[in-house]
């Protein structure tokens, strides 16, 4: 395996503000690599440096063997980018958006026409070919943006918060398409603040918080390393939780008290639930589930990911 992206000591400062602080990571060919973290953690700034649209303050970064600072144009010709905010040309048709974009890469019209047919099929927008972008739903626009990002058959596809703002159904359609890309061997870089997205799509990920990488691994290994196997969530009526905090903390080796509920981390949910009942506490609801990346994040930063 060869490293497609290699960063050491990568740093981005805007004046006094440090957006990315001395991070190291590398992404292998064919891998689906995630940056997980809350808004403002430095994910987008990192993406923009990889995409050669933002200067590097310090450290070294190599993408596809190229230096983004000096070979930006050459590098961008081999990347596909799906930005966080849709920046399609709203007044043009689906077809024209793709044709226009393909021409930026100096592809011949005949080649682009062929790829448009394939890509529209792939993102399930064939019927919308001649519709104005304005008239598409949010999920369709996002799919079109993905098709646009694939028009040059990139060696690396960068997706910044691909499903933010989409309804659950649109998200699943999108995940399905991204999963297929991954199976075709396209290297994906994904930023997200959704745990389930990271678990679904990423082979490996880094957790970012406050401009730093705080953990790295596969979703499974991160969960194993940072969270016990199971979680029992208990909810109490408003106001009650504060009074029983001490008693809850005695019930499991590790607990997190959130605004409206308490999380009890345990290797055996059943016996924890039994001891809750035995303790005389009377929560509104009790829910046992497997640990997720959310729990990893909570453990690492003391905060929940989506506020």
């Amino acid at each position: 395996m060869t490293a497609l992206i290699h960063a050491t000591g990568l740093t981005k400062r805007f004046g006094e503000f440090t957006a990315v602080d001395d991070i190291d990571f590398s992404v292998e060919q064919g891998e689906s690599f995630g940056f997980l973290g809350p808004n403002g953690a430095g994910k987008t700034s990192t993406m923009r440096m990889i995409g050669a649209v933002s200067s590097i303050t310090d450290g070294t970064l190599s993408v596809l063997g190229l230096n983004p600072m000096e070979q930006g144009s050459q590098l961008r010709s081999r990347l596909g980018v799906v930005p966080q905010e849709d920046n399609l040309d709203q007044e043009l048709t689906v077809y024209d958006n793709l044709m226009m974009y393909g021409r930026y890469f100096d592809l011949s019209r005949a080649v682009i026409r062929e790829r448009i047919d394939e890509l529209l099929e792939f993102v399930q927008l064939t019927e919308k070919r001649m519709s104005k972008v304005d008239a598409l739903s949010g999920g369709m626009k996002r799919r079109l943006t993905i098709a646009r990002g694939l028009i040059n058959e990139p060696d690396l596809l960068i997706l910044d918060e691909p499903t933010t703002g989409l309804d659950p159904q649109a998200r699943h359609v999108l995940w399905d398409r991204l999963y297929r890309l991954k199976q075709q061997g396209v290297t994906l870089i994904i930023t997200t603040h959704y745990m389930d997205e990271a678990e679904q799509l990423c082979d490996r990920l880094v957790v970012m918080d406050k401009a730093k990488i705080v953990a790295e691994g596969s979703p499974r290994s991160l969960i194993e390393e940072y969270a016990p196997r199971e979680v029992v969530e208990v909810r109490f009526p408003a106001g009650v939780l504060d009074d029983v905090t001490d008693r809850i903390e005695d019930l499991a080796p590790r607990t997190e008290i959130l605004a409206d509920r308490a999380l009890l981390y345990t290797d055996d949910a059943e016996s924890t639930i039994a001891s809750i009942a035995a303790s005389g506490l009377d929560p509104e609801t009790i829910l046992a589930r497997r640990s997720s990346l959310e729990d990893v994040f909570l453990r690492l930063t003391g905060r929940s990911l989506v506020e």
Partner: protein
């Protein structure tokens, strides 16, 4: 051979324009007809009655037409540098989309200048055709007067782009049109010689790019000696284009590829 990057930007702008070209060509014909008929012929007949020697030796229509040609190019240039740039940077963020491709900031700005120049050229050529239909000058002479109009248009595209790219909010644009573009349109020698202005205003009119274009274009159409030596005016307008373009690059970089 690879297509130069600015030409790829040019092609994309042309593709967007294809959607609206009809309306734009119609108004391209209609505006000069209305202006030349109302001001040149209508108002002009009154002016000519009172000035038997003509304005600077020619009828008011002949005096006005080459000036108005340049004024129209000036306004078109300002429009291209204002709304489109604001949309690209802020409203639709289409510049960000372009910059994720091999296009870089200098190519983006160069392509924008090229396309805007083409727009100014279209509007000016249509104007020149109408102008000769009004029998102001033969077609060839009218078309030659497009040269200075193009220079003025490009000077305005460059300066307006550099200005717009520095605006955080679009509210500065209406003010720019009200206090810069419209006064320049009215007072830079297209409608009356700037010698009619109060003395303290004359240097300001002289400094505008439009004035130099009006003088050159009028020299071509009427055959009069321009107020400033022609090559000085050409150099002056070229400097506006070069400096304006250079000043546009840094705010583009700062905002789009920080």
């Amino acid at each position: 051979m690879a297509t130069p990057l600015p030409l790829r930007v040019f092609e994309a702008e042309a593709r967007v324009y294809r959607r609206t070209w009809r309306g734009s060509v119609v108004s391209g014909f209609l505006n000069p007809i209305l202006y030349l008929a109302a001001m040149g012929v209508g108002l002009g007949s009154l002016v000519d009655q009172n000035l038997p020697g003509g304005v600077e030796g020619v009828s008011y229509l002949t005096f006005l037409a080459p000036g108005l040609l340049v004024a129209t190019a000036m306004q078109t240039g300002a429009g291209e540098g204002a709304w489109k740039v604001m949309a690209g940077i802020k409203w639709q963020k289409t510049y960000q989309a372009k910059l994720a491709t091999p296009i870089g900031v200098p190519s983006l700005v160069a392509g924008h200048m090229l396309w805007s120049g083409a727009r100014v050229l279209m509007v000016s050529v249509i104007f020149a055709v109408i102008m000769s239909a009004f029998r102001v000058a033969p077609l060839l002479q009218s078309l030659l007067a497009v040269g200075p109009a193009l220079l003025v248009g490009l000077a305005m595209v460059a300066a307006t782009t550099a200005f717009t790219a520095r605006l955080d909010e679009p509210t500065g644009l209406p003010l720019f049109f009200r206090f810069v573009v419209i006064p320049m349109f009215l007072f830079s020698g297209a409608f009356f010689p700037i010698t009619q202005l109060p003395g303290w205003l004359q240097p300001i009119a002289l400094a505008t790019p439009m004035f130099h274009g009006v003088e050159l274009s009028r020299a071509i159409v009427v055959g009069a000696e321009p107020a400033v030596t022609w090559w000085v005016s050409v150099m002056y307008l070229s400097a506006w284009i070069a400096i304006g373009t250079a000043l546009a690059v840094s705010p583009f970089r700062k905002r789009l590829t920080p």
